[in-house]
Amino acid sequence: MIYLDNSATTKPKKEILETFVKANEQFYANPASLHQMGNAAEDLLEKARAQIAGLLHMKHVAFTSGGTESNNLAIFGTAFAYKSRGKHIITAATEHPSVLNSLGALEEQGFEITRLPVDHFGRISLDELKNTLRSDTILVSLMHVNNELGTVHPIADIARLLKNTRTFFHVDGVQSIGKLAFDQTAMPDLLTMSAHKIHGLKASGVLAFNDVEFKAVQVGGGQEAGLRSGTVSVPHAAALAKALRLAEPHRGHQKWNHDLRDFFMNYPNVKVLSPAEGAPHILSIAAKGIKGEILVSGLQKEGIIVSTSSACSSKSRETSHVIEAIRVPRDYRDGVIRISFGAFTTQQDIRHFKKAFERVNRLIKGV
């Protein structure tokens, strides 16, 4: 099988699994325990934390169960800590459900949420963001790279814009960390990352942060400086640190992205939805008059794994909110598939994909 659904999740790298197994064998003690074994686990945990903070160019790191929890923690945590300062939060219409639904819950509690609209490529307008900012805006929460389109929000510009204001900036970096370079001089206040999108393990993520005090969402024994209770999984932390160290922007992705864009030009019934200047590892297309799931299963028969838009929304029958937000023409709307590359993707995979797509397209048109 040729796996081109790396934005849903990635295959763990062998060396990361090795770290996980070894850390489980040698450092299984609770890092909060006072004894020698607990101390050793704590040392490893703190080394992992320091390595992650260094690689992300952020001051602090709290370990979580993944991207969704980190986004929840960033949003609820900041909202509850700073609600006396204001109750206005800005986001975009195309954010991940873990952000949009958190904000929806806050809305029910009296917070006011502005959801910035996007253009046909999923881009927000910086001017519009500026105009929406108010003195009681406590948080702007945006993703760096959109998971369905690959659209890149200008987070460094926004970080600079918000730098000397009282508005905090949260970035969901799940689809960008380890894949895109960050501007180290303009980092956000809060940054979400997930290990399994960079060939690490599932159920493992971090919320990295600078000078912001947020309230805990999950409470209990006060681990992670009280910000996230629950026994910390040292093996997950070590594996995440390693995954992050091994992750690097892939040279092939940009080339293959261009290559496939050129390829789809030959198909008048196919529209490329991803912006040309988007993240190189994600390419979304829409085929006219067919359902995405038919394309997915047709390609699967040819040994190629892709998905319809995001994995989160692909099982429900409804059109994804992102596809709706960028106003894809009605006859293309159901035919969206997302091709996403990972560290293991090869030139040959792309060649196979093209041949397979050609055959599937012919087959479908023949019907």
């Binding site: 770290t19 040698q26 490893l44």
Partner: protein, 402 residues
Amino acid sequence: MKTNQILVRYGELSTKGKNRNSFIGRLRDNVRQTFADLGGIRIKAERDRMFIASDNEAEIEQAIRRLPKVFGIQSFSPVTEAELDMDAMKQTAFRVVEKLDRTGKTFKVSVKRPNKAFPLEKLEIMHEIGSHVLRSFPELSVQMQHPDIELKVEIREEAAYMMAEVIQGAGGLPVGAGGKGLLMLSGGIDSPVAGYHMLKRGVRLELIHFFSPPFTNDRAKEKVFDLAEKLSQFGSSVNLHIIPFTKLQQEVHKQVPDNITMTSTRRMMMRVADKVLEETNCKAIITGESLGQVASQTLESLSAINAVTRTPVLRPLIAADKLDIIETAQKIGTYDISIRPYEDCCTIFTPANPKTKPKLDKVEYYENFVSFDEFIQEAVDQREIVKFPQVKKNGAVYEDLL
């Protein structure tokens, strides 16, 4: 064009008459030790200045990063080499000045020309280079007396040498020039800072720590190890003596009333320290005591503690404010270690109401019933000695995993 030398200006030692040679020798040894892992480094110590050279520019960069920590150095300057050719020299001058902060600064070029075969005269060289730099950086203005930036050019047989940047050194005296002292290292904020001040005055350190298992745990010991590691980063290695103190401490509690145990415990520490001092050839005991901080640090208390020894007890922080001490601790990187919340042997046996003005005769009276000599000798004999800088055992395991 290559930056392959560093010129080092000595600190106070330039003024130290007779001892000068031993100071310079000491500084050279400390510098050598600091760069022990850099194979290509050559050191030439002259009477007024020292040259550090290497053909490997990466080594010079490392050296520039480490030198600000070495005591006995007033300042130093990277030296850049240029070919004996006017164009090459102009280009080098540009690069050297380019690296500096130039806004609103005054500037001059000074030239030495020991190589008399060089075709241009001194004034011509000055003019050529000066006008090239000034044209390139219009923000500079010329000032011949005390300019902010002085570009020094020396034309020698083999090449031209240039320098302009002056980097501040740590000052003080080379560690070891002032003999050796025994620092009582508790794990708190003050004692490492006291040690730092003595290092700066050229005193080598032995460290002594009182460890009371099971009342104090391995984390507390590790904290002291980390502090010792920091104190070993100033150009001279240190030994840490860990004294098993539980028995002695319990004995004191049996013998003396609660409100003077603190004074008595400290007197025992002094007696243990005296023994270690003899064995290690130290000449003074150093503590982080600062007047009035806690009950044991009143003048009455200090004199009752001090009465137990004839060794000079140096207290470099005696008149320092806590905030200043904290600032220094942060600067030398010990603060974050010191504030880790593990108990040391002083905090666990602290009585509820220690006497702030203990009477020496009372203290001596209560101690009089038992001879502590045996316990003291036992503690000294059973001490663990660890040398720093230390290679951590687990470090490699962690690095493999991460």
